[in-house]
């Protein structure tokens, strides 16, 4: 039966998406409604069959008709329905982006609520009452944590910390103000006899105020993600929505307790304050503890890379549940856990695990968000309602007013303490971005009051406010941002210069503060960084990475990204740099004075010193990089990751390519056979062997036959191809090249731990080869060997530490 339903859906493929969507909706709803009775029928059918057959042959055992195809829905009911909902939500999300104009006008959250409304409406029409409710168990334990973890793990720590004071002010004081203002004014409104709400006491109104006052992180994320405002405003509104959870929790429980008793004393108020502090700091503490545990665990996962992401997720979830266990703020625990563990975990885990974590978090949070909005729509249709015009409209109105007054008032106070003040535009966006969402609804749902009618009134009002903020404010905020010309997010990636200067500024400002003599912001930040570097990093980060300064880590990350870009852009093509420019390394290397002219008549132009410098640099950098990579890989990885090693090669290849390009540009008459084959293996091989790069002409010059290199698969050593006009590369006989070799020899003697010595088998063989200066035949190969990867024997040697 389900297959029959399902068959209808593909039929709509040829038509527009909306029809497909509706068909899916229909199929889904009918499935829900109709499967159960069918299931019951089928099983009863079998039972009847079984019974009838056994009735016939009572004394002996009769052969039952073997059920070739049976149907048992109960068995899989719950997981099946859950999966269907998730699938449905994802398909909806997919669909919105297929319709381009729609997603730019209407934020996704609105569309999802509409879809939820449709589903709810349809199922009500059909008479199906078994819809999943957005009940608090589901919501708080399953749907909310992924979103918060995603937010907390990727929280931009720097702007968050810099604006922490402001954020806390908005979160704590702002929410308190909202709650009390709305609650008390509503109470006043309720006193009007015409409303028919006189039974609502002050405490009930305050309770309602506390539910409705909190800005919702889910809604804020959903809307703000699409408008790309600047970092400061984003972190202000978003940070507020995260941190006000503590306030909400305390107020909610406080008023819920008290509304049962009807009175409140000063002592209770005082206890409330204490409770708030405990809830907030306790939540953060719990989260931090689990975060440190996760970081510590990740230190030892080098043998078992596959389950690294699992630790991140499980520790965070347990942190959340532990906090909820004690009625502490679970959201703050989750944020603290993610933010604390991130720098250490990222230093420990492999690149792939990092990608996995990122994508899983984004995936789960995305699905959660979608489900929340859809279920919100469904619950709107299904839920018990009690519409009271005055209550609802005054609630909406008061929410807006309270928010505006709160923001303006608080900013006035905050600006006295801030150095970079908040402008009016900023204030407007902060006020306008105070969206309410599903948390408020769930809290309302969770309410246990004797007066069911009151609960219905509350729920209706909450839903109306949510709809208003999400639809009206959500849809209009984008054009308003454009209209007011609010500063947008800077899309450009951080460059190495900026990173250098940010660090430089940190130290500079700390120093100036010290000279000024007062212990300010920078001083404490610097102290914490030093403490972090000295003690904490040593504990929590494995191996050598614990000593890596931040700048180097940043630089390597940057290079890694560039290498990945290279791979994705097809590899062989032109080097992707941010700006098209012909500037290369050689342009910045200081030129050395030219050497004394040689007495010997020379046909060939000399190798310019910049070229030498570049070669030297490449040598050094390759060795250096290999050494550094080796060090960071030397964590007994079970399987030498071919992709990451390929990237290693690609980085070198990047440099090689530049070199090649420069040579090409410098001499138009030389045709260096550019890499023609496309297979990465071949390119890698060619790179490793150093064949068909610039140094080929070198060998041509000597008229030597190219010695075979085991790694060169497709080498065509064809001297005929290359024109006889020689390139200006120095021949081994020229003093310049000897210089290179000499210097390299000197270099090698100086520091024995260069890359060459990493290959034990060929190590001893290399120096004796070098000393034989008369072995010109070997020279070019030597030169190429220096510049390329170590040869195959070296590779095996290199692999040794990697294998168990």
């Amino acid at each position: 039966m389900p297959s029959r339903m399902g068959a209808r859906a593909p039929a709509g493929f040829g038509r527009s998406f909306w029809e497909l969507g509706l068909l899916l909706l229909l199929a889904f709803v009918l499935l829900q409604g109709s499967v159960f009775p069918y299931g019951a029928d089928a099983s009863s059918q079998h039972a009847k069959d079984g019974c009838s057959s056994t009735h016939e042959g009572k004394p002996n055992r009769t052969k039952k008709v073997f059920p070739v195809l049976s149907f048992e829905y109960d068995h899989i009911k719950t997981p099946f329905e859950v999966s269907l909902w998730v699938l449905f939500a994802s398909l909806m999300k997919l669909g919105f982006h297929l319709v381009p104009r729609l997603s730019s006008i209407v934020p996704e959250s609105c569309l999802l609520i509409v879809v939820g409304l449709l589903v709810g409406g349809l199922s009500k029409l059909i008479g199906e009452s078994e819809l999943p409710k957005l009940d608090s168990g589901n919501f708080f334990l399953v749907l909310l944590p992924p979103i918060i973890l995603d937010a907390g793990y990727f929280l931009p720590i720097r702007p968050f910390m810099e604006n922490l004071g402001t954020i806390l002010m908005f979160a704590v004081v702002g929410t308190l103000w909202n709650a009390f203002f709305i609650g008390s004014v509503l109470f006043a409104v309720c006193q009007i006899p015409a409303a028919g709400l006189t039974h609502l006491g002050l405490l009930s109104c305050l309770l309602f105020g506390s539910i409705i006052s909190a800005v919702d992180p889910v809604a804020v994320l959903a809307v703000f993600e699409e408008i790309h405002i600047n970092e400061l405003l984003h972190i202000l509104v978003f940070g507020e929505s995260l941190l006000n959870d503590a306030v909400t929790v305390v107020l909610y429980h406080l008023f819920e307790e008290f509304s049962a008793f009807g009175t409140v004393t000063v002592l209770d108020g005082f206890l409330g304050v204490i409770s708030f502090l405990i809830v907030a700091f306790g939540g953060v503490l719990v989260g931090a503890i689990y975060g440190i545990l996760a970081a510590f665990t990740s230190r030892f996962t080098s043998h078992m890379r596959v389950i690294e992401p699992l630790f991140v997720f499980v520790y965070s979830y347990i942190a959340y549940l532990s906090a909820e266990l004690f009625h502490l703020s679970g959201i703050m625990a989750l944020i603290a856990c993610g933010a604390v563990m991130r720098p250490y975990v990222e230093a420990n885990i492999s690149h792939k695990s990092h990608t996995t974590i990122k994508y899983f978090l984004k995936m789960w949070s995305s699905v959660s968000e979608t489900l929340i909005f859809i279920l919100l729509g469904v619950a709107t249709v299904g839920g018990p309602h009690n519409w009271n015009w005055i209550f609802v409209t005054s609630t909406v109105f008061l929410c807006l007013v309270a928010r505006v007054i709160g923001v303006i008032g608080l900013t006035f106070i905050i600006n006295k303490f801030r150095i970079v003040k908040l402008t009016t535009k900023d204030q407007f966006i902060v006020a306008y971005g105070g969206l309410r969402g599903a948390i408020a609804f769930s809290l309302g749902f969770l309410l246990e009051v004797e007066d069911e009618e009151m609960r219905h009134i509350f729920l209706t009002a909450i839903i109306t406010v949510i709809f208003f903020t999400v639809f009206v404010q959500g849809m209009t905020i984008k054009p308003l941002v454009e209209l007011l010309a609010v500063k947008k997010k800077q899309e450009a990636k951080r460059s190495i210069n900026e990173e250098i200067h940010i660090q430089f500024l940190d130290h500079l400002l700390t120093g100036i503060e010290d000279i000024c003599g007062h212990y300010g912001h920078h001083h404490w930040k610097d102290k914490m960084n030093r403490f972090n570097r000295k003690y904490v990093k040593k504990c929590l980060i494995a191996g050598e990475r614990s000593k890596e300064p931040q700048l180097i880590a940043f630089y390597h990350k940057l290079e890694f990204k560039q290498a990945i870009q290279l791979v994705e852009s097809g590899g062989g093509g032109k080097l992707s740099s941010a700006l098209p420019s012909t500037v290369s390394i050689q342009n910045i290397q200081p030129k050395k004075p030219p050497p004394a002219p040689e007495p010997r008549e020379r046909v060939l132009p000399q190798l310019p010193k910049s070229r030498e410098e570049e070669i030297r640099k490449i040598l050094r950098s390759n060795l250096q990089r290999t050494r550094q990579r080796l060090r960071s890989y030397n964590r007994h990885t079970l399987v030498a990751d071919p992709y990451e090693e390929g990237l290693n090669d690609l980085l070198k290849k990047q440099k090689m390519f530049e070199l090649e390009k420069k040579i090409k540009e410098m001499n138009n008459y030389l045709s260096v056979p550019v890499a023609t084959s496309d297979s990465p293996n071949l390119r890698r091989a060619r790179l490793a062997s150093g064949r068909q790069t610039d140094f080929k002409p070198d060998e041509q010059q000597n008229g030597k036959k190219q010695t075979s290199d085991p790694q060169a698969y497709n080498v065509k050593p064809d001297p005929v191809e290359v024109p006889t006009i020689q390139v200006e590369l120095a021949s081994p006989q020229s003093p310049d090249s000897v210089n290179i070799l000499d210097e390299f020899r000197k270099d090698k003697e100086k520091d024995e731990d260069t890359g060459l010595t990493m290959k034990p088998p060929s190590g001893p063989s290399a120096p004796p080869r070098k000393q034989s200066g008369e072995e010109d035949a070997k020279d070019p190969q030597k030169l190429t060997r220096c510049l390329s990867d170590p040869g195959p024997s070296a590779d095996e040697g290199e692999d040794d530490p990697f294998l168990p």
Binding site: H507, G511, S584, Q586, N587, S621, K662
Partner: protein
């Protein structure tokens, strides 16, 4: 704390105008100045060196040097001083004022230029108006608090950074051209994304505070 501390701020309105500090801030800074100099009129390098908190700072010497750099006095002289007076001390400190709400866009731009100029002077130690590769490398090395390992990385990072500056500012250089060094315009260009006027500032105390013998 009698009448003496309020003397400087009120007495010298020119200071207020030149540096942009309020009289209270000038008073506080004067107190600090006297503390550092041992109640003398000038500060020498040793006085600043003796500040214990600065000991951990990797760019300590550059910071101290910046105080004695004539270029930061807006006097268009070059070279360095041996000792500085309070006025010169204030001039250097004025580079770290935050922007105010009332500033226009031009004023903010001028402030940014001033701060960037200060940074530039810190890097350009020989005063030729360009940050060469060597000078930049020294900066990076200091930042990395180099051991022998980091020296290689410092070179790499510096080269990459320099390359980036060159690519951004002079995109089409021939293979034989040489990029001499970062000029002030190029420096401005590469750091324009950082919004220096909002980043490079510290909080100057307005109210009178007591420093209990800390130096």
């Amino acid at each position: 704390m009698g009448a003496a501390p309020t003397r400087i701020g009120q007495q010298d309105p020119e200071l207020v105008e030149r540096t942009g500090f309020s009289p209270e801030q000038i008073n506080n800074l004067h107190k600090r100045f006297l503390q550092l100099s041992g109640n003398k009129d000038t500060i020498s390098r040793e006085n600043l060196n003796d500040i214990p908190a600065l000991a951990y700072n990797p760019i300590k010497s550059q910071i101290i040097e910046a105080f004695f750099d004539k270029r930061n006095q807006h006097d268009s002289e070059v070279g360095s001083l041996e000792e500085i007076t309070f006025q010169q001390f204030l001039m250097v400190m004025s580079h770290f004022r935050p922007p105010t709400l009332e500033m226009t866009a031009e004023e903010k731009e001028a402030m940014r230029k001033e701060k960037l100029r200060f940074l530039f002077n810190m890097h350009d130690t020989d005063g030729d108006g360009k940050i060469t590769l060597e000078e930049y490398r020294k900066v990076v090395e200091e930042l990395l608090s180099s051991g022998s390992i980091e020296q290689e990385s410092a070179k790499e990072i510096t080269d990459a950074a320099m390359l980036e500056v060159a690519s951004t500012n002079v995109p089409h250089m021939g293979p034989e051209d040489f990029y001499e060094g970062i000029t002030f315009e190029h420096f401005e260009q590469i750091l324009k994304g950082l919004e220096m006027e909002s980043r490079m500032h510290i909080r100057f105390l307005d109210t009178a505070t007591v420093h209990c013998g800390k130096s």
